[in-house]
Point group: C2
Chain length 430, copies 2
């Protein structure tokens, strides 16, 4: 992914709200998503300022001069076909859409819908969902809490990106209410019970949508991995810590995670993120050497500088008009393992990935306390409760709480771009 | 699922090869699968003796008088739509197909294709795949090997069916070659390496295809769980034991399992299995009481008596015309947790299941040594190698080995039905 004319900070759009310098969706971003059209069906849109560009309508009216497979894929009800076409097609579409929206081009207001009045769906049909555990700070914090007498990082952690398969069917789009799950819990002082989860948590993550597939039996090399990724979304991997604690040995988290995961509706493409690539944290002096299949080429800059903020508002706060409280602020570039390394490891066995598959980063936590990416860490397993403006405290999430993750990229010489929000309100257990 | 006229042992078919008493596919079975038609597309078939009934052709020609949603679903390219229609529709289709094929009905040979000349595909598009760990004998054996100083069963095992999410994209149909995966391995005496798996194993399992969906947030009660299951297939969950050993802490098996899982092409319906229901093994006197959400109604007989046999033949044996060697013989009824309990637990959080989702039982091992369901147990972690007729020994699978699982149900007063085979040949690492 290279920086080209579509990233020029001088570019402006005939959509005025895209030119404020504060919007998540300037013309340098152009993320893709699926909106509900008048007939109730999904349709591909691109976010621009406060509007959504109806891509299929732009193709039909020849405002966008795209043809063949690309035109067909962009007229579909999900992004899967478009994702499957590969990086050259993604670039062609981006360039054409940028040209359509730039200030010098004729206004085409009939192709726009107000975002505030638009319902979004999942961007793709997600075949398989995998979640990793790529933040050293998160893994270390969890290790300290749950294995206080041992080394906080398990022996494999520095050698490979630890991951596990997740549940695709319960991934929902931002704005979907989250019902507190029931589950089997084991109180310290008695036998297990089946009851509503008491230790409900969120996890600040990012998700990478796979675009280009690999055939079964054919690993994706570390040098090619970035070209297989279409783009990123914010991911909130809701977690039931009490279910998890009782169930997770020896096969890993299962019911603790499968009731819901929320993603933001707009997929920010790797092309849009090209100006924000970085090297990620250096490996420490006594860290083991990486095996070749996980070693990026020198200067490949596979990390991405995305800043994420988490806000919480209780039902009482929202009723009182109190602003949501910021819980944390972290950055994706703090991950010790990049999405390229995750994908290279995931496919190193020959595991086939398909367009629309989603790879989660795992909880993004930073070295500072203010950069911890879940309640488990923020409240240190409930021992350090958080004071809310409504006078209550939080160890874990309560019914009525709304959790919102936002994210953006900022760098000198580039235009700020954002991800929009990823939010959900906790409903009582049914 | 009840026993009705379609199970009558006196029923015979005008397809002579269905009446031998030895075929897997008598008229009392009628399993569904997807075959490749002349145009290369998938089409629904029903196995009968040595033939495949072309169901869509039977509907088109009005040999099968089915209409509306059911006719439409049975004319599709996969079984997902048919699976989603629910138990009443499955019964209607079974009755109509049984009537079409019974001896008294007119011969309709033009609706048949020889099975030996037919290529099969996966029966459904598998959205999510979950694997359980429901055999007490398997879990105990593995516990003994890997935690020799502790209790072989972990504390949660007797309280809930332990499971984890698997990889759907690498599930293949019987007959697909399996390339030995590469992976990160950790020799006991040195740093990790990236190399071909050295401890390649199979796991004898059964898979349950979900038919009726449940909405997100709505658990499936234990009393309704059986009605949500469309049918069973044989499942071979190929496993890379050396990858597994190094990677699985703390989030469970991942790359050790995601390179391939093989299923048999014919889905034997729960209706066909109705005569073979049983109570499963009794819980032991000192086992804890089950929580209500996992307690089946008295007399519900949620276990199923299916006998499975595993055979191995090396490349040398096949060249020499030596018969495959039987490695083990076990029964699904030995599982301590039924598919009803697995489904009730899986959805107890509100996790949504969709038509075509697959639930694996976990390795089916019995109390005897001859009923161990994988090489890890059979060779006791490689310490008790198995002698093959070609003069070689096996601790784990070698390149060229063909592993075949077959399965059948037999009971006095009922007709023997079978699953066909589930096989794969190991190819060298690429």
């Amino acid at each position: 992914m290279s920086i080209d004319a579509t990233h020029d900070p001088g570019l402006r759009s005939w959509v005025d709200s895209a030119n404020t310098g504060e919007t998540d969706f300037p013309i340098q971003n152009l993320p893709f998503g699926i909106f509900v059209d008048a007939s109730g069906r999904g349709r591909i849109g691109v976010a621009i300022g406060e509007y959504v560009l109806d891509v299929a309508a732009a193709i039909e009216t020849e405002a966008l001069l795209l043809q063949g497979d690309l035109a067909c894929a962009l007229s579909a009800e999900s992004l899967n076909s478009f994702m499957s076409l590969g990086a050259a097609s993604w670039r062609d579409a981006r360039t054409a859409i940028s040209d359509l929206l730039r200030e010098e081009a004729p206004r085409q207001d009939r192709l726009l819908r107000r975002m505030a009045e638009t319902t979004m769906l999942l961007p793709a049909s997600i075949g398989d969902y995998t979640d990793f555990y790529a933040s050293r700070h998160h893994a270390t914090n969890v290790g300290r809490m749950f294995r206080p007498d041992g080394d906080p990082l398990l022996p494999n952690w520095l050698h490979l990106p630890v991951g596990y398969h997740g549940r695709a069917s319960s991934i929902v789009v931002s704005g979907t209410d989250i019902k507190r799950p029931h589950g089997q819990l084991k109180p310290d002082d008695g036998p297990p019970v089946y009851a509503p989860c008491r230790l409900l948590d969120y996890e600040l993550e990012f998700g990478a949508f796979i675009g280009s597939a690999n055939a079964m039996g054919s690993p994706v090399g570390i040098g090619q991995a970035m070209d297989h990724i279409f783009g990123l979304v914010i991911l909130n991997d809701w977690s039931a810590r009490d279910i998890q604690k009782w169930e997770y040995q020896p096969l890993g988290p299962f019911n603790a995670k499968n009731f819901a995961s929320t993603i933001s509706p707009w997929v920010v493409t790797m092309q849009a993120l090209a100006p924000y690539r970085s090297n990620g944290p250096a490996r420490q002096a006594d860290d083991p050497a990486l095996l070749d299949y996980l070693t990026p080429a020198t200067g490949s800059s596979d990390a991405i500088d995305v800043i994420a903020e988490v806000h919480l508002s209780s039902a009482v706060m929202r009723e009182a008009g109190t602003a949501a409280m910021r819980l944390s602020r972290g950055t994706l570039a703090d991950l010790s393992w990049s999405f390229s390394q995750m994908l290279a490891h995931h496919t190193s066995t020959g595991c086939p990935m398909n367009a629309g598959d989603l790879i989660g980063s795992g909880t993004v936590s930073g070295p500072e306390k203010t950069a911890r990416g879940c309640m488990l860490e923020l409240s240190w397993r409930g021992t350090e409760p958080i004071d809310l403006p409504d006078g209550t405290q939080r160890r874990f999430l309560q019914d009525g709480d709304e959790l919102t993750i936002s994210a953006f990229c900022e760098r000198d010489g580039a235009t700020r771009i954002g991800f929009g929000g990823c939010s959900g309100v906790i409903l009582p257990a049914g």
